[in-house]
Amino acid sequence: MSQPTLVIGNINWFKYASPQTFYPLAGAMIPWFAWAAAILCAAGLYVSFLVAPTDHQQGEAYRIIFIHVPAAWMSMFIYVVMAFWAGVGLVFNTRLSHMMATALAPTGALFTFVALWTGSLWGKPTWGTWWVWDARLTSELILLFLYFGFMALQAAIDEPRRADRAGAVLALVGVVNVPIIYYSVKWWNTLHQGASVSLTGAPTMAATMLTGMLLMALAVWMYSIAAVLHRVRSIILEREHGADWLAGFREAKR
């Protein structure tokens, strides 16, 4: 059987599906993404806190959305990406895919927590309470539990191969359930307390606000990629400990 190939721009991308070739590539990519994250974050924070106008309804408190919304987007997106890599890993039996899924989980959980935390901080001045059982907040909370479940399951299994595959099944079951959970919570919410808070009815955003939010969203993307690549490298180091190809790397000797 010949090796599978995916050639785009004279590079066979499947070559990088092996930890051995991916490790140096990831190492070379991390500084680019990290610097991009730092620069975008600085620009995003400048626009968000100094340029964007004060909201006439919520005053200065609204500015937390520049962190809250990108974090919430990222938290959901990472779960889908994690489930994607888990599925790829189960189907093609590639170790690196499972390592990616494992590396994505803590970053996803981090952003879920940040989204919940900033949501709570935002809720106090605008809604007058730290927590409402709003559909979005509640499904975000359940998403956090799903991340914790994934990480706890992988942590409880000593054998890496079983941990990878068990986690992958759980991630796939979770990703099927996320829309069901979201809609049931949304429905439950309207059933129980009526439409108390509606984000969709908010006035349209000023252009600078949108710019700030997009810059922050990009910064969050870049940070996530850099952090996940870094974690994947650590996982590779841990799992491939003692492999010949690692002998050339300084960090493997420690």
Binding site: I142, A152, L170, V173, I181, S184, W188
Partner: protein, 241 residues
């Protein structure tokens, strides 16, 4: 596993007519028999259900209106916890005595065997909750016209809990701290069932039809019945490897 699952002698035997379903029947029969011989396990889960439900009035006070309002939620949450508690023994005994490996090696599709096991498990741990739930609802002075809806929602909802929970039970098979881990994996996935199941009673209590909720619950059951046996089978293969 020492024997490869593709051993020709196992794979090449054509199954008898209706052979697959006789296996399903045999699995259900065997698991029911095993459960009946260990009646104390069944009683423990039921007692847990009764005790958890009875604790709530101590916590929130004996005010009848309040109790009436929280009754659907309390009974459903207690049913959720009882179902979860019973999951731990779903595959544990078979895993310990090697019967599970035989099931993995069997030419019958594993999903079918697993479906049989989950069905037997529901008959012994879910169905009793359906019978007892309405009795406990009387303690909370729930309107008598709602008792039928409660029983029906539990009847449709608890099999979903067993099916989803079995994935968690298969994934945590033989792990240290498996019980608590199982709760962490399974309880978030139970949320839709809880919302819709308790929602059926709220709707009926408010004078609306409970039918939409029950139909949604039935839809969840159909989805779970079709897809979870695959996931359970895959999880078992991973855990027993």
């Amino acid at each position: 596993m020492s024997i490869a699952p593709t051993t020709p002698s196992l794979r090449d035997t054509p199954p008898r007519a209706g052979g697959e379903f006789s296996v399903l029947r045999a699995v259900i029969h065997r698991d029911l028999l095993l459960a009946l011989r260990r009646r104390s396990d069944l009683a423990t889960v039921l007692l847990f259900f009764v005790i958890v439900v009875s604790l709530f009035p101590f916590g929130v006070g004996p005010e009848p209106n309040l109790l009436r309002a929280i009754a659907p939620g309390v009974i459903w949450v207690a049913a959720l916890l009882s179902c979860m508690l019973a999951l731990a023994r779903l595959f544990a005994a078979d895993f310990a005595d090697g019967a599970l490996e035989q099931m993995l090696l069997s030419p019958t599709p594993l999903g079918l065997i697993v479906a049989g096991k989950v069905a037997a498990h529901w008959l012994t741990s879910g169905l009793p909750l359906v019978a007892i739930g309405p009795v406990l609802a009387l303690q909370f002075d729930l309107d008598q016209s709602l008792l039928g809806v409660l029983a029906l929602s539990l009847l449709i909802g608890t099999p979903v809990l067993s099916l989803i929970g079995a994935i968690g039970a298969a994934l945590t098979l033989g792990l240290r701290g498996g019980g608590v881990l199982l709760a962490l994996l399974v309880l978030p996935l139970y949320v839709p069932v809880l919302i819709i199941g308790a929602g059926a009673l709220d709707a009926a209590g408010a004078g609306l039809s409970a039918l939409p909720h029950l139909l949604l619950l039935a839809a969840l059951l159909v989805l779970a019945a079709v897809f979870t046996p695959w996931a359970i089978a895959a999880s078992l293969r991973i855990s027993a490897e």
